[in-house]
Symmetry: C2
Subunit: 412 residues, 2 copies
């Protein structure tokens, strides 16, 4: 399969935008047509899942499909078809003194392997984004969604076959729950150019450690809001509630609130009161507990590292902006962090010194998202520094090459 | 050391261009001042090397320093000081419908570990380029150059200390030949953000396989020249001689000449004659040997994969441009490949379909080089596809982050 994907990737280098977009639209239509088959397969996955122990309702919910969710998947693929082609863009072209004309042009990466868990929409999202960027893809979903993903893949393949313009091997799916398959895939650096794991920390760590192929990682989001001594308290409260409560289970929600000591006695009582009304559990440092004694648990060292993904917030009072920045760089996951301040110097310092993919002044961290940034659909949020940082969309699924036009130049 | 480098990297995020450039100039002066000590240390390395068996003269030559080479190293560091600062460049800034202003800005990667062999100039080149891009660096040179590198490092450190404006831990050097040190370094993903191995294929493979840290690889250069049926024979010959002979020991020299069958009987006799006058050994396919029978060895399957780094050239007659492109993508190392043709369609197809870091029309592959491309000094030529492809200069030693300016926006 990997060999066939590599062969397809060379064909994909020359496929036009029109062909890609037509194929994507056929893929979308075919998913829609086969909705009932996909839903039936999904019921089977859910039934199997219910027989397992220790499965949370949230986990079952993530896996469950319905007409509406399939409609959203179909629309997502159509949106990708309608977006601009990231391939063949000459980023820059310049002339050298010897007359050589050198250009830097975007090209596909080649073969991308995506290893993911749970939500079946990842199957169609990833197939669409990799195809749009002229890459071949090998999809490997979680065992808990095997029937759903398999039915979805079959529908997509039928659509692609009907379009009939792309090489066999463009979109591939590993139709087995066998765990050894992943270990084997990660050795195939001859055929696979990049691996993108999507899922829990365990999955991503395991892939990163095993892989001989470059990995684009999406680690956890331990995001912070820092309320500076020059903060507007109303704005700070509004942003804090939004960043914690609007959707606590996602990676760009905050886990820790840092408050400057000069602001703590004014700001902490009101924000903690507001958070508690939203049913948020508070875990505070000593200074926080000295200000708000009632109903604030003691935060441990472990708390500062923790991605709760839940209605829990750790709170710490810091002596200075430097201390806030040091805390964020030390305990955070370099994902998204925000300052609330009215002071330009504090704002600029925070932007410069916080070592994260997205750094905010006076806005909620919840905006870290390809769509919200205006970059289009994304495969995930990279916490890596090489190649892609932050939202990974079609542009991050490309690489570049240099093209050089000469008239017989030699080097002497 | 890695921990100290990480701490330094956070300080470096806020260091100005002026400070960096002053420090580089002091570093350069100090290398110059300590030239005699460095030369003495180099003599010691050379003496030790001569006691070892199976050491080629070329290897000794690469290691040897003299006044002139030290002068070139000093100048290289000064040139880096004089170049533009790659950090803090806002690549793009845009406004979202909700008023958020989002910018993509270049920032340092953090801590870079460079593992290299032989030439001592790598020590000063890499220190200069990583410092220019505001990264901390951990240098690990080859055991054969330990005294030279160590003396050079001591001189550089003295210069940095005299400048006195950078944190301790900015430039670090592993002062031991202990091989276990490398294995240990490659596990320190908490402190080191990227690893760049420079040297033979064995070193790079070993680093890539062991490392838990992302690696920017520089594999071999199996480069091709394809002489199309629409080629100008004079131009093709001139380029072929240049790309093979001017400096055969470098990665952007060609190893294989591909010739379209319609051109073979005209072009092969003259080019092989010219190559032989330059003492190039020819290894040809059956068709080549049918045209030029005298003094052409038989090429084996192995030859097509081989980077000779020597005055040897494999030659193959191909039936079509497709066949040439397929050969290059299959046997090449995705480094630099050129077509000679007068035909626009052949040229454009070659540019599009050859999957290499640099693809040329009517010019020698020898131009793949940061300086020749006008990109400034380079650490090497990446044959990877993620993050950096082709010349790795100061721009490739940066990453980016998103900075977001709001006025209280929340996501709903």
């Amino acid at each position: 399969m990997a060999r066939q994907a590599k062969a397809a990737s060379y064909q994909l280098m020359k496929v036009s935008s029109d062909i890609k977009d037509r194929s994507l639209l056929e893929m979308a239509s075919s998913i829609k047509q086969h909705a009932s088959t996909i839903l039936k397969a999904n019921k089977r996955d859910i039934a199997l899942l219910r027989k397992r122990k220790n499965i949370s309702q949230a986990f079952v919910d993530r896996l469950r499909l319905n007409e509406e969710r399939i409609g959203a998947m179909v629309q997502a693929v159509r949106d990708v078809a309608g977006a601009r082609d990231p391939i063949g863009e000459v980023k820059r072209m310049w002339k050298r003194p010897n007359g050589l004309q050198i250009g830097k042009i975007t090209v596909p990466i080649g073969v991308i392997c995506i290893i993911y868990e749970s939500r079946p929409n990842v199957t169609s999202d990833c197939a669409a984004l990799t195809l749009k960027s002229s890459n071949a893809v090998i999809l490997r979903g979680g065992s808990e969604a095997l029937y759903s993903n398999s039915a979805l893949y079959t529908a997509m393949k039928k659509g692609l076959k009907r379009a009939g313009e792309l090489p066999e091997g463009t979109v591939n799916f590993i139709d087995t729950a066998d765990r050894e398959a992943v270990g084997y895939l990660l050795t195939l650096d001859e055929f696979i150019d990049a691996v993108i794991p999507r899922g829990g920390e365990g999955l991503i760590k395991a892939v990163a450690e095993q892989s001989r192929i470059p990995v684009i990682k999406h680690y956890k989001g331990v995001c912070h809001l820092y309320v500076d001594r020059f903060a507007d308290c109303d704005m700070a409260e509004k942003i804090c509630i939004n960043a914690k409560v609007e959707r606590p289970g996602v990676c760009n929600a905050i886990e820790t609130l840092l408050v400057h000591k000069d602001k703590a006695s004014i700001f902490l009582p009101r924000v903690i009161h507001a958070l508690k009304r939203k049913k948020v559990e508070i875990r505070g440092c000593e200074k926080t507990r000295a200000i708000v004694s009632k109903g604030v648990k003691k935060a441990t060292e472990e708390d500062w590292f923790t991605e709760y993904l839940d209605l829990i917030l750790s709170v710490r009072v810091v002596n200075s902006s430097e201390a806030a920045i040091t805390h964020i760089n030390r305990y955070g996951s370099h994902h998204s962090d925000a300052i609330v301040t009215e002071n330009i110097h504090e704002a600029m310092r925070f932007l410069q010194e916080v070592d994260s993919a997205a750094v905010y002044v006076n806005a909620s961290t919840r905006f870290t998202d390809g769509g919200q940034f205006g970059l289009g659909a994304e495969i995930g949020i990279s916490t890596d520094k090489l190649h892609a940082r932050g939202p990974v969309g079609v542009d991050e699924l490309t690489t570049y090459k240099y093209i050089v036009f000469g008239s017989g130049q030699i080097r002497t």
